[in-house]
Amino acid sequence: MNAAPVLVGYTAAVGFVAPRLLLCAGWPYRAPALAAAVWHALMVSFSIGVALAAYNLAMPAEHLHAGLVGLLHSCGMRVGPGEPDPGAAHRLAVALPAAIGIVLVSSFVFHVVRARRTRTRHREAVDLVGRHSAQLRATVLPYGIPAAYCLPGRHARVVISDAAVRELTSEQLNAVLEHEQGHIAGRHHLVLAAGEAFHSVFRLLPLARHARERMPLLLEMVADDRALRRHSSEALATAMYEMAAARTPKGAFAAGGHTVLIRLKRVLGPRKAPHPAFWGSVAAIAAAVPLLPLLVACPPGLS
């Protein structure tokens, strides 16, 4: 039996329906790391589903006219000379999923390498212009507005403006620095690069768009949670406010800025982690989802 219809249906559900369900769910902000894992599991599952569907569509099944090559042939398109050649169909069936895999992996490598090149250039300049503070474990740049960011990667740097060092209390400052260390320790740049890679291959897919849009916010929340392990929510929230308010341009609207508000309310509100049983079942689903298309394509005991 050819599993193509089931696979196509499953893949479509993962690519179009699942992101909508995830966007409506209430728990992702309470367990941002788990939510990020679920987004990635869906992306992996979709990629495997597409590859297997391509394989099953191209593979001639019961008779030669089934499958993609047979279909093209019966539609009057001549794929190769004469009757469809089972060898060609077979090669196509293997080449399609392989091509999908190669495109995805090279897209990821491209994004990682390009981002690293940008970071390296930036880091070299930061090292020349700024002063490294061993106490803060950060590089301080002379800049009149309290601000901070990090350059993740192998030679990671946390960069903070001297205005932030001057104007924030030490408790606030440490909360901000801990937040940035969270990005570095969690290797969030690789998580972002994976999302970017998936998006540049499946550009119009709702899953790709929503995952890319949602991922930065989830990662900020993961870093917030890390800062909150050692620092009070008041310190983190007020630091966040100081930094956001200082950089607000007069009369200008910035896109996506409302995420600070979401984070701030989350940090200040009652933070309740999801029930362990719920957490465990979502994690189990996230782990199983990438394997589902394989189960559909090659049901154990049937093949």
């Binding site: 740049l141 800049y143 940035e180 970017e196 008041e234 406010y241 950089r247 910035a254």
Partner: protein
Amino acid sequence: MRRLGDLEAEIMDRLWTWNRPATVREVVDDINKTRPIAYTTVMTVTNILYNKGWLLRGKQGRAWLYSPVRSREAYAAALMEDGLGESRDRPAALVHFVEKMSEEEVAALRKALRNVGRQAKS
């Protein structure tokens, strides 16, 4: 061990602090106050900085006078804006603490903070 980048930073630091064009000899003499360093090493690294576009140079008599292209503050501002994602090119390279917000959003933020303050007191 000191790396090349450290010496680059030391040279730039002096030129920015002095705030006037200086010769390689002056830089070497100043570094020599704390540790010995060869003139040729400093000259090579200064030349690298010139080629990278960090320094300008002009001849005075037989010696080259070097000065930074831009002030430390100007570089820092450009880097900060780049790092905070305010420049046009925003790759996923830099993760910043907070994004820019509109005035309405700042007002909403302030309100959220005030509410929490009130809750904490009551």
